[in-house]
Structure formats: C-alpha cells, structure tokens
Amino acid sequence: MDYKGLAEQLVSKCLKKGADAAEVYIENGRNLSIEVRKGEVETVEEAASYGAGFRVFVKGKMAFASSNDLGQKALEDAIGRAIEFAKITTPDPNNVLPDDKGMSEIGGLYDSQIVKIPMEQKIQLAKKLEQLAMKDPRITKSDGARYGEGEGEVVIANSNGLAKSYQSSACSLGVSVVAEKGDQKSSGGEFCGARSYIDLKPAEQVAEKAARDAYEMLDPRPVKTQKASVIFHADVGYALLGGILGAVNGERVLQGASFLGQKLGQKIGSELVTLIDDGTLDKGVASEPFDGEGVSTQKRIIVDKGVLKGFMYNTIVAKRAGVRSTGNASRGGFTSLPGIGPHQFYMVAGQAKPEEIIKATKIGLLVKEVTGYGINPVNGNFSGGASGFWIEDGKIAFPAKGLTIAGTADEMLNGIEMVADDLDLSRARTTPTFRIKLLQIGGE
C-alpha cells in the first residue's frame, strides 16, 4: 500500500475539515518474538499492525487523534475528533509544523532479508544461545533465551508540503541465566540488538557474558560505608546519561526545571567528558533519517570536553526558545504527540584500557549494576543501588552487593578522571568505562 500517498491525502482532508495546518503520521510494521527455555520453545508471538495519528492546528490551538483502523470511515472520524478537540486547547503562536524537505542519508537501517530466514533457524539460534549460556557448571537455571525481530515503515506528511518515509528493521537476541551456590542465587543476562540478522553478536559472546555476569557475583562480601573511587563499567555508564538527557531537554530548560538550564557555554564536567547525540550513524540502533515530525537528524556535540554546548529541541519548543529544531522530536508511536528525546546518546571513548583503570585504583568500587532513577534532572541529585567488585591495590578483591552510591551531577561529571577505550556503539545510550574520583558508598 502507498502510505505516503495516503498520508498526503489525509493532510488535505484535515484542511478541508477545518484545520489551518495538519500533520499525518503513519506507522506500519510486523514483529516476531520467540522465547525458549530448557531447550523448548516457550512462546511464539507474531503480528502485523499499523495506525495513523493526526496532529491538527485550528487558530493556533493544537490537538491530536489516532486510530489503528485505516478504513475510510474510521480515519474521517479520527480527523473530526482531533479538530473538535482543538477547540479546548490554548492558542500559542509557537504551534507550528516544520517545513524541512531534506533527509539525512543513513545506510543499513533496513534489511529485507530478515523475513526470509526461516522461523526454525531463529528458534535454533535462541536454543543454541541458551545451551551455550548453560554450559558453565556454575550456571544452574535458565530464565530463557529470546529472539525478536521487527520491521516497519514510518510516514510523515504535513501541510507545509513535507512528505517523507523510511523503512527500518531490528533484530535482538538475549538470554538470562541463574547461578546458584548453596542458598545463594545470582542472575546474569545479556542482549544485543542490530539492524540486520547477520550483525547480531555471535551467540557464544552473548552467552558467555550472561553466564559470567551471573557466576562472578557469587560469594559477595560486605563493604563498609565510605567515600572511595567509583568505576562505572561500560555496561552501566548509561545510568549517568538519563538525568543529563532530562536536563538538556529544551522544554524543561525553558520551564526552569533543569539543573543545566543556566549552564550553556559553561564547564559542567571534566575535560574528559564529551557527549554526543547522533541520529545519523550507518546501521545505528537509534539512527533515523528524520525525527518524529520529519526534521532531518544530525550528529551533535552536547558536551565538548566538559563544556555544555547545546540543548535538544523539537519544532514547537525551538520556536519558543528562538532557535532551530535540532531534529530531536521523539515519538512514542502513532498514538502520541512528538516530545523531545535523543538518538544515540553516548560519551566519547578515551585512551585508557579498562584494566589500566582498575590497576590505577588503590581503593574503590567497580560498578557492574546500577539501579534507581539516575541523576534527578531537576536538581542534579543522584542516589542509586549498586553492585560490582571491590578493588584493593589495583586488583579486583571480591564481589560486593547491596551497596548504594550517591552524590550530585556536579561531583560526578567533574570527578571523571579516567575514561577507557571500550565504547560499545551497539547500544542506544552508552559510555565507555570511566572512573569518578570520589563518591559516597553506602554499605555495612
């Protein structure tokens, strides 16, 4: 079906029914997920679905309606509902749509071969992954191995003459296992995602990582409450990024609800901290040629050697701030309005080897798991649960669980004094391993 043609027709229909400006967003796609456990298929889920969302503007007032019935009558009904709903909102001169006709060129977002691979082969891959993860005798139970895939098309058209679409696909592979020793239980898991089936990490690598994460945390020992160096392993460094993302959200900045709101152009972290938002990486797991309202995506430096360089905007918030959209309109699907969100958001890799960082640490915690909400984007406070390894004299001494770490974004970002070279760009939010000079650790 020609969804782009349909979207353009529907934009005209919105205008005919009384909208001054309108945008139509259509998604269609299919997905498959397979879960195996103990060598048997446990669930198979498969479906194809689609839907359309209508954003309309009437005399500067904005409203939205969505429908997953693409029949003529249902679509007309949804448009009518949106226009009707626009009567109740407040007019705002910033309520505008983009007119960006361009698109960022990104290779490898769609792999048409995924669907051609037989289901049996995908089931076998998940079974093999589970088997490999159970190979180590310390691993006693499987919590299942999973394979998932999806592909879809996004279409956006608006009354400024913008009309564009792209296709993308994704595959993922993951496994969770349990290691037991006496009364102790320890869980480990690993997953990987990629745009193509053939770009998934080898099952051996995924399995080995999941098993190791489980068994290496057996026999933990207590740690006393103290201040010490904290190394964030590359697996958990993303825990620092969420709060920063909340704080560079252009709308939160305008509202005064960001701890970084007044810091543009200022130093907010050590020289080793460079943060990038990239929507354009070939085959990137968070890449897209245009954002959730059709603006071309970019690769932007958000923090450059510790200096805050920019915030993130969609079209409406950018107009309000008097700047241009940064291509960061994010969309939760055809059922919602565009918000503001990142693409691939990461900390640039450093020079050190991860083992060198451990070696250079006299006393400290190597964090392998962080729980909690991360940095509070409003005031920059941080407190989280943590587990990992205790380091003494440059060596891993023993596993440690049930700890807390806490501080402020200021302490954490300015305290980053070593950054490793192990950045894994197969994740949407990611950092290399890094060390923070001193943080409060809560324990016994």
């Binding site: 969505s66 429908s67 997953n68 709903f85 407040t90 239980k185 480990g188 649960g385 700890l403 409060q440």
Partner: protein, 509 residues
C-alpha cells in the same frame, strides 16, 4: 524489547511520561519506530461485535493442530489525554484503538498472534499463527462458549462518555490554580488528565464468554518548587476505575496542595546519611516497596520457572508474624480492580503471606496449570497486543495493631519515608531498590529535617523479616507496574517500621 536482565519496576506515573522526563537511561533501540518495540499502547472506534459462533470457529481453528487451551480476546479502547502546563492547555490527545489476539497453550508452550482488524478472516489467520506451537500435540475438544454474568466491583455514577470536555478542563484548572496559589515559590504546575473506556470480550475453549467495559481515570499533578539554590518537582496522583464522580470525593485542589507542599518542603532537604538504618514508612503508596520486593517474587510464573526467590518456601515462615500481605482485585473501584482478570478468572481477595507464613502464589491460567494450583485472578495484559501474564492488582500489607505515632516515637534514629517515587526488583535474587520522594531524618523518635531523594535497597527476605511494627492506618496509592507490559495497580500499607535497610545517602553518618 529484550532487556538485559529481567527486572520489574513500579512507578507513580506512566512510563511514557517518565521517559519523556528522561529520568533514566534505557537499553532499548530508542529510535526505531514504536511498532518494532511492540510498545504500542492500545488505542479504538465502534465496538466490534462478533457472533458467538464466529468466536467458536476461531477457537476450534486455534486448537486444530493440537493444544489444550484456546482463547480469543477482543478489545476496544477510547482514551482522552489533556495537558495543562505553564498556564496553558498545551495539548489534547484522543485515541481510538481496537484489536484482537488469539492464544494457544500446549503443555508449557504458548502461541500468540494479534490483529488490528477484527474480521473473521483475520482472526482465523491469527489462530493459524498461534497454533504453530501446538503442532503434533494432543488436542482437546473445545466447549462451545456461553455468555455469563459476573458480580461487579466497579460502579459508575457519571459515565466518562457523558462528560463534556469543559468539565475535564474545569477539574484540571482547579488543581492548577490551587497549586500556584499555595506558595510563591511554586513556579510551574503541570496537570495531566487521562481517561479511557476499555471494552473487553474474552472467549475460551473452556466455554467461557465474558463482555464488559471498564472506565479508568488517572490524574497527575506535578509542581516545580524553586528555592535559592535548588529545585524540586513534586508529584501527586489520583486514579480509580470510576466515572468523573471520583473528583467529588478526591478533590483536585487537595491533590494539588499536597503536591505543592512536597515541592516546598523538599527545597530545604539536606544530604541524607548513607548506610544501614531503621526506616519508618508512612501509610499509603509506600506499599509499593512490598509490591516490588515481595509481590513480584510471589508471582507464579517465576515459581513455575523455578527461578524465583520464594521457590520451595510455600507453607514456611518467611516474614515476621506481624506481616500479612494481600492481593485483592475486588476493592471497590480501586485502580487495580477489575471484575475478572484478562483471562476471565474471577477476582478475589488472595492472602499471600498470613502472619509471616507463605500461603499462596499468584497465578494466571498457564502458571496455575504448571504449578497445579488454583487460578487466583492475576492473569492480566496491557492490551490485545500482549499475552496475559501474572500481575498484581491491589497489593498491600494488611493492617496491624500498632499505633503510628508510637512506631515513630519508639524509633530512636533513622529515616521517615513519607512517600516513594517507585523502584524495581530482580525477582530471582530478591534485591530491590526504591527512591524516596519525600523523606525526613528521625532523631530521638521525631521526624526532623527533610532529606534529599535517597535510594533504599535491600533483599526482600531480609526486609519482611525486619518489619517489626505494623500500624492500624492502612491506606493506598495508585501506580503503574512494568513487567514488559504496563498494568494499573494500587499499593498500600499501614505505617510500618523496617529494621536495617541500606539508605543511599550522600554523606557519612
């Protein structure tokens, strides 16, 4: 999307909103279309009605290759969401969605497929796909479905469908104005109003056929307090399965003032101490701690998988004798209440831990069969796009005999937690974490200085053994539970004291 670890979370506002606020990083493929993530929240138009014989035909087809349980679930949903922020009604979002899912269970295997189009042809196609897992298995002969009536725990006085939008705006405006009027340091108020009507039809090979319609209201107030050198975003929620009459009893102004009060109080917050200490948790939403720490590990799916922390502990003493924990889906109009779960099992009051002894696990159809236990009415799903899984409803620590004031005055030092944001648990190890929303130091049996949002962490088994005082002031709060799918829940507790929880403060004691 596949997550690195199985981790279940609960929070007091919707995940979507939560992600917008970008409080936490994720490992999902962030920028793929939502269809790829399978995260489409259900949204739909005119109510689709299928003839009983059509449904019978689909169920027969679903079991044609084998299998012992076949089911068709049809859903339609109409939702409204309005945002009032910074004095403006910024947006109004209307959602219409419909769809149906067909499920086949064969042994431990589940096959599932869904369709947005509710036609006989599409449902037969879904049945074909779902039957894949049952190839070659022994088949049961489905029983023809028959409509039945069930008691209802949800009453509606003013149906959402009859309410003019102006009424919704008025309720929002009352909250907004009350929040800003509370204190000049409240610089912004954000009011999220959401309501929906979800219609369900459930038919299965056991002959069950049920049709109902559930209203739901979720009202979230957030206020930004700005002090000399810090800011705090406060939050308060109201939610029920009810008509708009909820606001006659739960006043929007009260919710707004309480939210503003939190924003102002927390401007004075000092660094929390770090390390193990006693924690007194005020009655209400604090019950999420046991929802996470104890509730999730009591869900039958991880017991059937033999991975959960409570495996092998049925009938044994697991908690202090003051501790009784209940999951009750029949509390009138509560956020976690339905007349029956999404598999058609009657809701009931399930006592899970009685006076410290583990007496019951929560189940859905599949785990009840695997464990050879009763169906407890905990099979729930986010929408027709999801397989039902074991979920909690309204989960709480039952009321005790201690007096709340005495619990506090008999605690020499520690942390008084007035409210929590949310948290998560690893159901295998039982390790949980929670973030305090509003908390105070306890000094000499008194609530004193407010402290910054510290994390509380611990192991579920230690925590329920460490609860040594349970008050008589049971209360509840509404929230959202995430376990791959979102579910509406309520969590509750009386004031309780927990000995020796690790508090993630930023200073030494």
């Amino acid at each position: 999307m596949i997550m690195k670890h199985r981790s279940y979370f609960v929070e007091d506002i919707p995940r979507r909103k939560f992600l917008e606020l970008s409080l936490k990083g994720g490992v999902a493929l962030a920028a793929t279309p939502s269809l790829l993530r399978g995260l489409l929240a259900g949204q739909a138009p005119s109510k689709p009605q299928l003839a009983l014989e059509d449904l019978n035909r689909v169920i027969r087809h679903a079991l044609s290759k084998g299998g012992e349980f076949g089911e068709v679930y049809v859903e339609h949903r109409i939702s409204r969401s309005i945002l009032l922020e910074e004095g403006k009604f910024k947006s109004a979002v209307f959602g219409i969605s419909q769809g149906a899912g067909v499920r086949v269970i064969s042994g431990d295997k589940t096959g599932y497929a869904y369709t947005d189009e509710i036609t006989q042809e599409k449902l037969i196609r879904a049945a074909e796909v779902a039957s894949f897992v049952a190839r070659g298995a022994k088949a049961v002969k489905p029983v023809d479905i028959k409509a039945e009536d069930r008691p209802s725990y949800i009453t509606v006085k003013v149906p959402l469908q009859t309410v003019a939008d102006e009424k919704r705006l008025e309720i929002m405006k009352r909250a907004h104005d009350a929040a800003l009027a509370y204190d000049s340091r409240i610089k912004m108020a954000s009011i999220d109003y959401y309501d929906e009507v979800r219609g369900r039809s459930i038919a299965n090979s056991e002959g069950l056929y049920l049709v109902d319609e559930l209203p739901l209201i979720f009202f979230i107030v957030q206020t930004l307090g700005v002090g000399n050198n810090t800011s705090h975003m406060g939050r308060e929620r109201l939610s029920r399965h009810s008509g708009v009459e909820i606001f006659d009893e739960l006043k929007p102004e009260d919710a707004a003032r309480n939210c503003a009060r939190e924003s102002i109080v927390m401007l004075e917050a000092k660094d929390a101490p770090a390390g193990k200490m006693d924690v007194v948790m005020q009655n209400g939403w604090g019950g999420v701690l046991v929802h996470e720490a104890v509730g999730h590990p009591l869900e039958g799916d991880n017991i059937a998988r033999q991975t959960g922390v409570f495996v092998g502990k049925l009938g044994k003493k697991v908690a202090s004798e003051k501790f009784t924990m209940v999951d009750d889906g029949t509390l009138p109009c509560f956020r976690g209440t339905t007349d029956y779960d999404d598999e058609g099992t009657q809701m009931k009051r399930n006592v899970l831990i009685q006076d410290g002894v583990l007496v019951k696990f929560m189940t859905d159809v599949l785990s009840a069969k695997q464990l050879n236990m009763e169906r407890t009415g905990n099979g729930r799903r986010e929408s027709f796009r999801n397989i039902p899984i074991v979920r909690m409803t309204n989960t709480f620590i039952d009321r005790g005999k201690d007096k709340p004031a005495e619990i506090l005055s008999s605690t020499k030092s520690g942390i008084y937690v007035q409210s929590l944001s949310g948290g998560s648990v690893n159901p295998t190890t039982g390790v949980f974490n929670f973030t305090c929303r509003e908390a105070y130091l306890i000094e000499d049996g008194k609530k004193t200085t407010p402290v910054k949002g510290a994390t509380l962490i611990g192991n579920c088994l230690d925590v329920i053994l460490g609860i040594d005082a349970v008050g008589d002031d049971l209360d509840f709060g509404p929230g959202i539970c995430g376990k791959g799918q979102a579910a509406e829940v309520a969590a509750g507790q009386p004031t309780v004291r927990i000995r020796g929880i690790n508090v993630g403060g930023s200073r030494a004691r």
